[in-house]
Structures are given as C-alpha cells and as structure tokens.
C-alpha cells in the first residue's frame, strides 16, 4: 500500500544546488561540529577550539560568498531549489557582509560572554546558527523561506539576549524580546498568508509575475498583506513605532550580543525587506512607499530625539540604531538599484562600526567593574585620561556613527541621502540631515564625556535608569589575557575598516554595487 501511495503521489524533490546554499551549509555545519565536539571532548575544556572553529567557518563562509559573487559576475544570477533560493549578486554581497560581522563578533564577543555566562560552546553555536538564518533571509526568494530564516535568526537571538541567566535585567530583556518578537512574527506570517490569498503564491518572482499580468479589482487583501509584512520587518529593524523593544533589549543583552544583534538583525531584515519589496511588490511602489517613508521619518526623528535625554549609553545607542534604521530605510524607499546599493553600503559600514563600538563598551564595563548590563555617561567621564587608547578608538567609532567625514559613516549617510534625492523626495533628505545634526548632539555628548575632566556633570539627578528596567549585580568580571588579544584584534579591525572605507569608499562602493537583485 505504501508503495502504491508513493507511486500515486510522487514526491518530486527539487534539484538542490549545494553551491548556492554553500554559505548556509558551512555555518550550520560548523555549528553542528561545535555541538558534537562539545559532547565528546567536554563543554568547558576547549573554549579556544570552539572559537577557532567558529572563526574558521565565518571566514570560509565569506570566502565562499566572494567566490559565488565572482561566479555570478561571470555566469549571471540564477534561482535554485525550485525557485526558493535566489543565487544572485545581492545575496552574495550580503553573505560577505554577514561574514564580516560574524568574524568581528567571533573575535570580540566570546571573551566577554564566556566570562559572565561561563565557558561553553553555546555562544559560538548560536552565533553560527543566527548567521545561518541571516543568510537564508538574504537568499530567500519565497516568503515562507524568508519566514524560515527570520525564525532561525530570531530564536538564536532570543537565547543570546538572555545569556546572563543569573541577571534579572538580561532575563527580562530576553523575555520581552521573545514575546514581542513572537507577536511580530505572527503579524508577518499573517501578511504572508494574505499575500498568498491575493496572488496564489508565496514565491517572490511568481507574485511579481502574477501582479504584472493581472489587475486586482479588490486589492485590499494584497495591500494589507504588504502592510503586515512591512510591520514584521519594521519590528526586526526596530523602526518606529515597532521599535519599543529595542532600548530594553539592547540594555539587557550582554554588550557584545547587543552589538552583534544590532548588526546582524539589521543586515538580515533589510536584505529580505529589500528583496521582497523590490522583487515581489515593485509594482505596488506607490502604495508602500508612503508607509516606508513614514517608518523612515519616524525612526530618524524619534531615534535622534529620544537619544538626547539618555544617560545610559547602551540605551542611547539603541536609539541611535533606530536612527540608523531610518537612514537605511531611505535606501529602501528609493526602491532603485542605487538605493539598494546605498543600503548595502550603509549596512556594511554600520555593522562593522557598531560591533566595534559595543566591543569597546564591553571593555569599559570590564574596567569599571560592571557586569555587562549598563553603563552610564558618568562612568566614562575622564576615560580619555585613564585609557587613552580605548577612548580614542571609541571616539572614532562614535564619530563615524555620527557621520563624520573620513569615516565610512559619512559616505554611508551621504549615499542614502543621495538615493532619496534621486527620487525627488527632497523633504525627506532635509529631515534626514536635520536628524543627523540632532543625533550629532548626543554622539558628541558621549565623546565630550570621554575627554572631559573627571567630574560628574551637573544635574546627575536625571534618572540613570528608566523605570521598570533595573537590576545588574556589580560582581565584577575578569578577562583572561588570552581572550584580550582577539578582542583587541577585532576592535582595531573594526576601527581600521571604518576609517579605511571612509578614505577609500570606492572599494566598498564597487563591491556593493555588484549586489544586484535578480528578478
């Protein structure tokens, strides 16, 4: 009977291009290897080994993506695995950016995380898994696959946020992130369902083909589906008003996880957002552009303004990342190949500098004898005198985030604003520039604090912590010299890349301009 069943309903397996999904395979495989090894040689005995494997996998993934990009440049893009995976320049470039973020985090993160949460293979494994999810999202040519990647990424991130199990702040952050994330995933999935209902497919190319050949008399279902998909992505990139989780989560998560999350969640979500909007719904541009404009402008304004009153550096940087999300959304709303390129540039530049920034903040926290919970402006006051190297590097990265010239941050902001201007949305460009100026106020406040005299600022009476999010036991933490070396390598690399691409932006621009979306 079973045989007849098989013969009657043949399950046609699609041909699988292992080359195209090589990046995922490498990362996922490495994660499995780390887990298997830890089961055989012991969880705590060989932390350097796990890190080494993770680092190797990250580099290999980057190399594989680079090779893919070379092949795609030669032979052109293609769809793989029954059209569910897109093997194009865009996914390869995102793969390279993911690799860069992953390598930096592998260098900086584990030393800190293991010193608070104990040594083990889990952190490396989760990093590898979340990066796998990110690449799946970047390659996904199907809304269901996008959702798959989103969940792989998100679930790994939920766990990483709550890594400091003994700390209430961390647990609370993880729990909030999980609940709100679950909510947004549900909204996203509902949007997918509505789009499927309207178009009969979840495949991006097929949706586009359907929409270009059919006129929907009642398009409310489709439009509401698009809107809900945007909500899902808006949550992931923490665009206002779906940003509410991010300050609490950024503060509660281990600092290097915060940096990683800020980078990787944005890379993955923006990659998927760009592809979905550019491929499937490009004809509905007139409909969704106002929504993205609203998200972008709100994120730009509120990200910059809410950060002004923060004295807690990690929360301030959370708002700063909301502001950055607004900037990247500018490239999305342009919905041109130039906009895609500029968004990719911004993602690459931002990922590198934000991971370095949080790495340095971790170092400062260790110095101040604080657990990876919170750090107020007063804690860094006069740091320029005590730790000049740390202060100068942090100042460079913060100024880069503010968009100072001779850093990649400047080129990034400049290019997305150019993208908006090229579609004649001048007022948005003006808003973006004004918020950049407002944002400069709090970035500079941090830099000034670093190099000011060792005295408390007047008006410390301002609440150091927001209500409800409290905690953090100052038991101090120690870093071994062995883990300091990769940390410093990672931080220096981040600063060097930021300055290098600020001086020679054409190199990075050439790379990201090869990231064309195939449709």
């Amino acid at each position: 009977m079973f045989g007849s069943l098989v013969s009657q309903l043949p399950i046609r397996l699609p041909s699988i291009s292992y080359q195209a999904i090589g990046p995922e395979l490498i990362l996922f495989g490495a994660a499995l290897v780390v887990l298997a090894l830890s089961a055989t040689v012991g969880r705590r005995e060989h932390p350097q080994l796990y890190r080494g494997i993770g680092l190797f996998a990250a580099v290999a993934e980057g190399a594989w993506s680079a090779n893919l990009l070379r092949l795609i440049d030669q032979h052109g893009p293609s769809l793989a695995i029954a059209g569910a995976i897109s093997n194009d320049g865009f996914s390869a470039v995102v793969g390279i950016i993911v690799a860069a973020a992953l390598v930096l985090t592998m260098l900086i993160g584990p030393g800190f995380v293991e010193s608070v949460a104990g040594q083990g293979p889990e952190f490396v494994t989760l990093l590898l898994l979340s990066a796998t999810g990110a690449i799946v999202m970047a390659q996904a040519n199907d809304l269901i696959v996008v959702f798959l990647g989103l969940e792989i990424l998100s679930i790994a991130l939920y766990v990483m946020v709550g890594f400091r199990l003994r700390d209430g702040l961390s647990r609370e952050a993880a729990f909030k992130y999980f609940i709100l994330g679950g909510f947004s995933s549900a909204v996203f999935l509902y949007g997918v369902a509505l789009v499927y209902g309207a178009t009969g497919s979840t495949n991006l190319v097929k949706i586009a083909a359907f929409l270009s050949s059919h006129v929907l008399i009642n398009n409310g279902v489709l439009l509401f589906g698009i809107a809900l998909i945007l909500v899902g992505f808006g949550f992931k990139v923490s665009a206002v008003p779906f940003h509410v989780w991010s300050p609490d989560v950024y503060q509660g998560a281990p600092t290097s996880v915060t940096g990683y999350m800020a980078a990787m969640a944005k890379i993955a979500a923006f990659a998927a957002l760009l592809r979905v909007m550019m491929v499937a719904f490009h004809l509905q541009l007139e409909f969704w552009r106002p929504i993205v404009i609203a998200l972008a402008v709100l994120s730009l304004v509120f990200g910059a303004v809410f950060a002004l009153r923060q004295r807690e550096i990690k929360r301030m940087l959370a708002y700063s990342s909301i502001n950055h999300a607004g900037f990247i959304l500018l490239g999305v709303l342009a919905a041109t190949s130039g906009g895609v390129r500029d968004s990719l540039f911004y993602l690459g530049a931002y990922s590198v500098m934000v991971i370095g920034t949080f790495g340095l903040i971790s170092l400062i926290q260790v110095d101040a004898g604080k657990v990876e919970g919170s750090l107020s402006l007063d804690d860094v006051r006069g740091l320029g005198r005590r730790r000049p190297a740390v202060a100068v590097l942090l100042a460079i990265l913060i100024l880069a985030q503010a968009g100072a010239p001779f850093t990649s941050g400047f080129i990034a902001k400049f290019s997305v604003i150019t993208a908006v201007i090229s579609v004649n949305e001048y007022w948005i460009a003006v808003v973006a520039m004004v918020t950049a100026a407002v944002a400069a106020a709090f970035y500079l406040r941090l830099v000034l604090a670093l190099f000011s005299k060792d005295e408390a600022e007047v008006g410390v009476g301002d609440a150091l912590y927001p209500v409800a999010v409290r905690g953090g036991s100052d038991q101090g933490l120690r870093l071994s010299t062995a883990s300091l070396v990769p940390i410093w390598i990672g931080i220096w690399a981040s600063v060097a890349i930021t300055v290098f691409f600020g001086l020679f932006p054409t190199l990075l621009l050439d790379l990201v301009s090869r990231g064309k979306i195939f449709y």
Binding site: S184, F224, A227, L228, G234, F235, V244, F306, P466
Partner: protein, 625 residues
C-alpha cells in the same frame, strides 16, 4: 616670460623667509633680507622691461600661465600673469620705490620691538601689489587688491598698542569694503555679459557690451577705485591711515597702493571708453576731490595730515586724467607722484624721526640748517609737486591739465586753482618746518635735532633725483614722448587726444608755470616768518570739511546703535530664544520618549498595535474599491 614669475616670486620668497626665520634673523638682518628681495624683484622687472622692449610694439603682451585656480561650470579662473607695457611700468616703479623705502625703513624702524614683523608685512604688501598689477584676470587682481588692503590694515595698526592706530586700521578696512563690493559686482557684470573674467578675452571684447552695461560696470569699478584711491566721498580713511609708521605712509598710502584704483581704471580703459557719462562723472569727482583736499591741506597742522590731503588731491588729478581719457597722463602723474610724494613722506619721516615722533608743524621750524639733506630733498619734492619747471610735476600735471582743457574749460579752471593751492600748501609746510624760528626745544628737551643716518638719507637723495628729472620720461615734444609711445598700444583707441591750437599749446604750460611760481611766492610771503595764521587756517578746513565727523555721526554712530540694539534685544531674545527653544523642544520630546518607554510589555504591544491600526487605516483609504 619666466622672469615675470621672478618679479612676483622674490617678494613672496622674502615674505616666506621672514615669516619663518624673521625673528631669528632679527634687527637689522630682517630688514636687509626684505630689502634685497625687493631689489632683486626690481632687477627682474628691469629684465622684463628689456625683454618687452626687444619685441615689436604689437607683441608686447606676454602671459605667464601657472595653473588653474577655479573651475566651476563655465567659470574658469587661472593663475595667469600679464606683462604688457602698462604692467611693466607699474612693476618698475612699484619695485623701485618699494626697494628704496625698504632701505629707509631699516633706519626708521630701528629698535622697534616688532622690527622683523614690519618687513614681513612690507614684503607681503609688495607681493600683493605685484599680483594686483600683473594679474591677467579680474579675480586674481581682486586677490592682490584684497592682499594690499589686508597689508594696509596690518601696517596702519602696526602700533596697535595705540587705540587710535587700531581704530584707524579698522576704518581703512571698512571703508575699503564699500569699494570692494563695487569691484565684485563689476566682476559679476563682466562675467554675465562677456562670459569670461580674463583680461585677454574681456578687453578685446569690450565693444560688445551694451552702452548702459558699460556705464554700470565703469561706475562699479570706479566705486572700487574711489575706495582704494581715496576719492570723494570715501577718502576719509586715508587721513587716519597716517597712524601707521611713516615708511608705510610713503609706500602704501602715497606711492603704490592708493594708485591701484587709477591702475584699475587704466586697465579697464576699453570699457571706460564706452561709458561717456561714467567718464564725465569720474572726471568731475576727480577734480572736485583734488580741489577739496587741496583746500583742506592748507590748514592742517599735522605734517603727515598735510601730506595725506596732498595725496588725496593728487589722486584726484589722476582720476581727472582717467575721466578725460588721458590715461597716459594719469599713469605719468602716478609715476612722478610716486617719486615726489614718497620723497615728501620720507623727508617728513626724517623730521619726525629726529624730533622724537613729533608731528605738529607748530613745534618745528628752522630745521634747514640742522638737517640740510632732508630740507633740500623736501624742497625739490615741493617744487616738483608744485609744478615748477623743469621739475617732473610740471610735465605730468601739465599734461593732465592740457587734456582737461581739451575736454572742458571748467575742469581746467578748477585744476589750475588746485595747482595754485598745491604750490601754496607745500610751501607753507616747507617754510614753517624748515625756516622761521625754532620751536622744537620743548619736544627734544634740550638736545638739538640732527640729520638722519645715511641709510635714510640715501633713499632721499635717490628719490630727489628721480623727482627732479622724471619729467624726461614724457616730454611734451614729438619724439620725446617716451611713456606715451610705450603705453599707447595698450590703450589703443581708448586713448583720447584733443587737438589744441598752437597758441593754446604754448599758453597752457605757461599758465601752469606762472601759477606754480605764484603759489611759491605767496607761500614765501605769508609763511616765511610765521608759524600760525588763524585767518588762513579756518576750522572747517582743519577738520577736513567736517566730512569725517558727518560720517561718524550718521554711519558710525548709527551702525553702533544698531549693533547695540542687536546685542541687547535681537540676539538674546530672538536668536538665542530660537536656538534655546529648539533645544528645549527636542529635550522635551526626548523626555516624553522616556515616559513612553515604560518597560511594560503590554504598553509596548499597544504602541505596536497602534502602528498597525494606522497602517490598516491607510490600506482602507488607498485600496481600490
């Protein structure tokens, strides 16, 4: 034309060397470095002149192109310098006079606390002046124009410890800004109409300008020239500029910088030739300035103020020449004036130097015996400026007046009266300072004034010779009109020549000579034995026709009141209010953010759902029904 680069390059080199090592080289080494740099520049200028002389008259315009300076759309400006007969004349007398004044300054500025600084400015000035006269486009000329203005400001307020010097520098700078505005607007108009700012293209194409535009351009550039060359109504700064050290007055505020306006007008002669109304205006303003300033000069008691008014008056003559189309005569007067006016200033400086910085002629007198070289050189300068034949002023002023007569008799009458006044006020200066009874005992406290050191008297003698014989440059006889023949290709058809009858050709110079001698005689009769004659020194003239106090009362006080109003009312309430208000608004909204961020998951969800609801509303509005 590489040698042209050297003419400009030596002062620049001197400036850089003095800037870097001036303090180490010190006194008097820094002075020698500066002097040698200018002397070398003079030699290079002579070589340039000889090179041009060896060329055919039609090919004497050479351009040295260094590099592109500005390129924006259709707007190009190159760093290009131009050697043509006009700029070579300017180069020669600027570097020549400047070298002598540098030499003199080594003695004059001796033991000044900022000795090297003085020569830093002086070399920078000469560099800027050379850029001004050799530039081949308007923006580069403007660069030199502003450069000399800045140096003038630094040098007027060189002794900035004195509040009067500091404010005199400011005044010179501010009044010149009015003129600079005219320069810029004129440049814009030229570019708008001719699509270029290079002389090589603008001047040959000037005839394409509509008549009205040409008038406007000419008047705008004349505004610039009126500022720089101290014409009515902008001349008041030049009187205050006498606060600077005397060599500065001689070099910048008599011989070179103040003639930049005349040079600019001469350079733009093709445009001026099209602008008849503007030319007439220039001629009238010129002759009125000459007369008004000469009247004021008759009543001054400060020796440098007399000379300063005299400079204004002579610049008025030059503008009269420009306005009547007598460009060669204007340049001729400019060159001879540079000699004798520099000489007058340096001689006055010599007197001031020996009397411990006393400047009032009331406290001088009977100095001829004690300072014979100074006295004799001053007398030669006096006879030159008065126009007594055969000194240089007779020929240069004579040719101006001749053309003025050709244009309009009234211009000539005023010019001749002014010539009489010139001979008279300079005579007054000479007699009161060098003859009569000694009145300087109080100042010198017993010891006798003595002749200045040789380093100061040698330039006096050289300049005295030049002032006496410079008339040879352009004798009014056919075949001997060297300067005219040299310059006329530059001006071409712009140069106006008036036909005078044979009797007029004899009578006009004769009148000049008689008038000059008359002035000398009147001065001798009135001032030989007097140092003070209240009836001849009315207050209105002493105060310079009250022009300065009028400006002070209207513009300066009005402007100050406006500034104070801005400081008291506008700035704190409106400007600070707006800035503070914006900052407060952002902080307030930022504070709101903290309230929204309550930390409660349910309120977070509420915010997100609120966002979704707004989107749903948008979908309902935009969905097709």
């Amino acid at each position: 034309m590489l040698v042209l680069g050297l003419v400009i390059g030596f002062p620049l080199l001197g400036f850089l060397v003095l800037l870097a090592f001036g303090k180490r080289i010190g006194d008097p080494g820094a002075g020698w470095v500066g002097t040698i740099a200018i002397a070398l520049s003079f030699v290079a200028a002579v070589v340039t002149w000889i090179l041009l002389l060896s060329k055919h008259a039609g090919q004497r315009t050479q351009v040295l192109r260094l590099f592109q300076w500005i390129h924006a759309g259709g707007f190009h400006v190159n760093i290009t310098f131009r050697a043509d007969p006009l700029s070579v004349v300017m180069m020669l007398f600027v570097t020549g006079v400047a070298a002598l004044i540098h030499l003199y300054s080594i003695g004059y500025m001796k033991r000044d606390a900022r000795f090297h600084q003085f020569f830093v400015y002086l070399n920078l000035f000469v560099f800027s002046m050379l850029v001004l006269v050799t530039a081949n486009n308007l923006p580069l000329t403007f660069l030199g124009w502003e450069g000399v203005g800045a140096c003038s400001y630094w040098l007027i307020s060189f002794w900035f410890e004195r509040p009067s010097a500091a404010s005199a520098g400011k005044k010179a700078f501010i009044i010149n800004r009015i003129g600079d505005m005219g320069f810029m607007l004129g440049t814009f108009l030229v570019f708008e109409n001719l699509h270029s700012v290079s002389y090589s293209q603008v001047l040959p194409a000037a005839h394409r300008l509509p008549a009205g535009t040409a008038e406007a351009i000419a008047l705008l550039f004349f505004l610039a020239a009126a500022g720089k060359s101290a014409q009515l109504p902008l001349f008041t700064w030049l009187l205050d500029a006498m606060e600077g050290p005397t060599p500065v007055s001689a070099l910048i505020h008599a011989a070179t910088m103040v003639t930049a306006g005349v040079y600019l007008m001469a350079r733009l002669s093709p445009i001026l030739a099209l602008a008849h109304a503007a030319s007439t205006t220039i001629a009238i303003i010129g002759v009125v300035t000459a007369f008004v300033a000469a009247m004021a000069a008759t009543s001054q008691t400060d020796i440098k103020k007399i000379v300063a008014f005299s400079t204004v008056s002579q610049l008025g003559y030059m503008m009269l020449g420009i306005g009547t189309g007598a460009y060669v005569a204007a340049i001729f007067l400019m060159v001879t004036h540079a000699f004798y006016k520099a000489l007058i200033f340096l001689s006055s400086g010599s007197v001031i130097h020996s009397l411990d910085s006393e400047q009032s002629i009331r406290r001088m007198g009977a100095l001829a015996k004690l300072m014979p070289i100074t006295a004799w050189t001053m007398i030669i300068a006096w006879l030159s400026i008065a126009g007594v034949p055969p000194f240089s002023g007779f020929f240069s002023k004579g040719s101006i007046l001749e053309d003025a007569f050709g244009r309009n008799e009234l211009l000539w009458v005023v010019g001749v009266v002014t010539a009489l006044l010139t001979a008279y006020y300079m005579g007054r200066l000479v007699f009161v300072v060098f003859y009569g009874k000694p009145r300087w005992q109080e100042v010198t406290k017993g010891h006798e004034p003595h002749e200045s050191p040789r380093i100061m008297t040698i330039p006096l003698i050289v300049l005295a010779v030049a002032a006496a014989v410079a008339g040879l440059l352009n004798l009014p006889y056919s075949g001997l009109r060297f300067l005219h023949n040299w310059l006329s290709p530059v001006f071409g058809s712009a140069l106006v020549s008036y036909h005078l009858s044979a009797s007029e050709k004899v009578l006009l110079p004769a009148t000049d000579a008689v008038v000059a001698l008359l002035g000398v005689v009147i001065a001798w009769r009135l001032w030989r034995n007097h140092s003070e004659r209240k009836a001849l020194e009315p207050t209105v003239l002493l105060k310079g026709w009250y022009l300065d106090s009028f400006y002070d009362r209207t513009f300066a006080r009005g402007g100050t009141a406006l500034a104070k109003f801005g400081d008291r009312v506008v700035d704190p309430t409106i400007i600070d209010g707006a800035v503070g208000g914006v900052a407060w608004l952002f902080r307030w909204v930022g504070g709101l953010g903290r309230k929204v961020q309550s930390g409660l998951v349910r309120s977070y969800l509420l915010i997100m759902v609120g966002g979704i609801v707004v989107m749903l509303a948008y979908v309902l509005v935009s969905a097709a029904r």
